[in-house]
């Protein structure tokens, strides 16, 4: 049933990418084992150097990101934290100071000193401060003013505007709700109608769009799903069709595309890959398994047929297995408020139960390590594109999700075969609702619920 017409733009573009990626894979498979091991290594040192340099200085071409500087902070700090590396205490202090200059006296953070507050840069600033951790960083946020900024951004439709007179979309909802939840300032007034708005954005394909009527898109699907979970309305979504849509966003390259019939891009390793972490988490916090995740029999990463090589080597480096696994918290319902949102971000499962990831974790890891890594430091969209801090952040976040995709508990130590490449590739676990490193989240949660 072949089409006799010449290839369309979609087909042509896809073919070009496939050729590049498969040629890369072919070269890899033809290498001697020692070279293969090297290719699968996460180039930690080079990535950290690239990131730290960015924190210290950026060239003139970055003036197009002059209204996004808290984002650059977050992409860099989060990436470094994922690799469990350190930022100079002086740089940390400087970051806290810089972000406080981005903070508007009436609440919220702008893209730079003196700029209007904006929900996305607020999200980035708060996530940066949470990633830094410590009393100084965490206490630097003026929560009262931030709450009033959010109230002002709230729209009658239930959505939020990004800034005064700005656009309303699912991204704005997520950035607002995520920050409010993290800072423990989420209430019924902020939550009102958000669910209705997001529901109206789930499309006939199953994914979620930016605005009602637009195309299902990975970024917005992550934002929409995370928000619905945070406001305790996730059951209103058609989860089976959402899952069905997202599993088909993984392509032959191993990576994910953002929309149907579009090209693979490393950043969707998180936006799409992270959806599976959310779904998994959702199931483990419920008493019963409304979406059963398999019977655990096949929960060995080696048994699902994958296109990835099984070259995951078991290096001697074993992570400290005596990690604290008691993350269970009783789900105490505060009957005085309609929605108990205080603990939603915090509930997690007990124990080291295993599950089967619904996506192909090893194939995605292979894409990230072989196609997205720039061997000089940093990660990128796809071969042929340049590295940048945004892609570094989201490729690494996606990699972290992949490595832990067989575990029910985010914090448990992954099986060696779950980690493609040397075990030293292992990244820190994230909290998938906020995309901050898990233990930074724990610290922030304690801080903001006790003060």
């Amino acid at each position: 049933m072949e089409s006799l017409t010449s290839p369309t733009v979609t087909q042509r573009d896809q073919l070009l990418v496939e050729q590049q990626v498969f040629s890369l894979f072919k070269t890899f498979y033809n290498m001697p084992p020692s070279s293969q091991s090297f290719m699968l290594e996460l180039q930690r040192e080079n990535h950290v150097e690239y990131l730290t340099n960015g924190l210290k200085q950026l060239g003139p071409s970055f003036c197009v990101l002059d209204a996004n500087r808290p984002w650059i902070c977050y992409w860099i700090l989060h990436s470094i934290a994922l690799m469990d590396e350190f930022v100079d205490p002086e740089l940390e202090d400087n970051t806290i100071d810089f972000l406080s200059r981005c903070e508007d006296p009436n609440g919220g953070y702008g893209g730079g000193p003196g700029q209007m507050p904006h929900l996305a840069t607020t999200y980035a600033a708060v996530n940066s401060l949470v990633t830094l951790g410590g009393d100084k960083a965490l206490s630097s946020v003026n929560r009262e003013k931030l709450y009033s900024f959010m109230q002002q951004m709230k729209d009658a439709s239930g959505g939020f505007r990004m800034h005064d007179g700005g656009e309303i979309d699912v991204r704005a909802c997520y950035t607002a709700i995520s920050v409010a939840s993290l800072l423990n300032i989420l209430d019924d007034k902020l939550v009102q109608n958000v669910g209705n708005y997001i529901l109206s954005c789930q499309t006939y394909e199953g994914g979620i769009s930016g605005e009602p009527g637009s195309e299902a898109h990975g970024g917005y699907t992550f934002c929409g799903l995370a928000t619905m979970i945070l406001i305790n309305e996730v059951d209103r979504l058609d989860l089976s069709s959402l899952i069905d849509w997202v599993v088909f966003r993984q392509g032959v390259e191993g990576g994910f595309q953002g929309r149907t019939n579009k090209l693979v891009d490393g950043c969707y390793s998180f936006w799409q890959g992270g959806i599976f972490a959310l779904i998994k988490r959702l199931n483990s916090t419920k008493g019963e398994r409304s979406i059963p995740l398999g019977d655990g029999e096949d929960s060995d990463p080696e048994s699902p047929r994958t296109t990835a090589s099984s070259d995951a080597t078991e290096e001697g480096l074993n992570k400290d297995l005596s990690q604290d696994d008691s993350h269970s918290q009783k789900d105490h319902h505060d009957t005085s408020s309609r929605v108990n949102v205080a603990d939603i971000g915090h509930n997690s499962s007990k124990g080291h139960a295993k599950v089967n990831p619904l996506f192909n974790s090893l194939a995605l890891q292979q894409y990230i390590l072989l196609c997205s890594q720039d061997l000089n430091g940093g990660l990128r969209d796809k071969p042929g594109k340049s590295r940048d801090h945004y892609h570094t952040c989201y490729c690494l976040s996606g990699l972290s999700v992949c490595q832990r995709s067989w575990l029910e508990d985010e914090d448990a130590p992954p099986l060696p075969h779950a980690v493609l490449g040397p075990y030293s590739n292992l990244l820190e676990p994230i909290h998938p609702l906020y995309n901050v490193v898990l233990d930074r989240y724990q610290e922030a949660h304690e801080f903001y619920t006790s003060s």
């Binding site: 369309t8 979609t10 087909q11 960015g54 200085q57 003036c63 990004m162 700005g166 394909e205």
Partner: protein, 330 residues
């Protein structure tokens, strides 16, 4: 009247016009992080902008200044916002504003602020701007038929100002050029469900099913028409299960023994919704199974999951999960 060029890059400090203004430095602090090595023109322009912004000066020169700043960084939402305040205060001709935005769009078609600003302008111009706007979006889509912002903006224009009459045909044209363009399929769904001229989804369903089936015949491996088909029956599972055309295309594709993943998947979904398969259908599925080692499961849905696990091995975990769900539902 705004000049069409951005003052040819002459420093503001050398212009008589700006003599009375003290530029305001950015409060980066003594040890900023992620500091950008601003070029002199950029730094100066933003220093003057900050001064004007702080003073809330809504004058013609302020308007020119925002244009200059936007050219240097179209992502600065504060500048766009202030520009809107100045445009309002000066009661400026907004048709010219559209030309300005268009020039910025030439090199920044994926910029949020630009599209939001355009929406603001069109809102004020009203339905007179409609056809020119729809035409402009078409030209942007002719360069990139999947530009997300352009499509959202197009949907907004249709809903706010109308112009639905030709939209279904526009979708048809785009799909003729590229049947794999999911944005065009999405737009088709949008038109079919929301156009005041078409009678709504139930009225359009039969012809849309036929359209999708035609697309499937040519490219059964194209995910778009399959999802579109499913979408046509969004809230009416019973009709989905009884649609003979859908059944027929599934069977047809399966019988070719090639590119049948989506056909099998559709069949699986139908079975989960209570569809009772014919012997012909069972036989067609069984014919796909080539293993000597074990026979296909007697339950058709289970059998399909097993086949998909093998032929769509990238998604093996998902098909195993679907199979387990069958067991639990039973």
């Amino acid at each position: 009247m705004e000049s069409s060029e951005e003052d040819g890059g002459v420093p503001l400090s050398r212009m008589a016009e700006w003599r009375d203004v003290t530029p305001l430095r950015q409060d980066d602090g003594p040890n900023p992080v992620v500091p950008i090595t601003y070029k002199e023109e950029f730094r100066e322009t933003m220093d003057y902008f900050r001064a004007i912004y702080k003073a809330d000066e809504r004058s013609p020169r302020a308007l020119r200044l925002t244009r200059r700043a936007i050219h240097l960084n179209p992502g600065n939402y504060t500048v766009w916002h202030f520009r809107r305040l100045v445009l309002e205060a000066l009661n400026t001709d907004l048709d010219e504003e559209l030309d300005f935005i268009q020039r910025i769009a030439n090199s920044n078609s994926k910029n949020y602020q630009l599209w939001h600003h355009r929406r603001w302008v069109i809102e004020r111009l009203g339905s007179n701007a409609r056809s020119k706007e729809l035409h402009l979006i078409k030209s942007i889509l002719s360069l990139d038929a999947k530009n997300y912002h352009a499509w959202s903006h197009r949907q907004w224009v249709l809903q706010a100002l109308g112009g639905w009459e030709d939209e279904l045909d526009y979708c048809r044209q785009l799909l003729e050029q590229d049947i794999f363009n999911n944005s065009a399929w999405n737009q088709r769904y949008f038109v079919v469900t929301r156009s005041p001229f078409l009678g709504g989804l139930p009225a359009m369903r039969a012809s849309e099913v036929r359209y999708s089936v035609e697309a499937i015949v040519v490219n059964p491996n194209n995910e778009c028409p399959w999802r579109y088909l499913r979408g046509l029956y969004k809230d009416d599972i019973e009709s989905l299960v009884n649609d003979r055309e859908i059944l027929s295309i599934c069977l047809k594709v399966i019988n070719t023994k090639s590119d049948y993943i989506f056909a099998l998947k559709m069949l699986l979904d139908l079975l989960c919704y209570g569809f009772q398969p014919s012997q012909e259908l069972r036989d067609a599925v069984v014919a796909l199974w080539t293993s000597d080692t074990r026979p296909l499961d007697a339950d058709l849905a289970t059998a399909i999951c097993d086949i998909l696990e093998h032929v769509d091995s990238l998604r093996a975990s998902y098909w195993i999960w679907r199979k387990n769900k069958l067991r639990i539902a039973a």
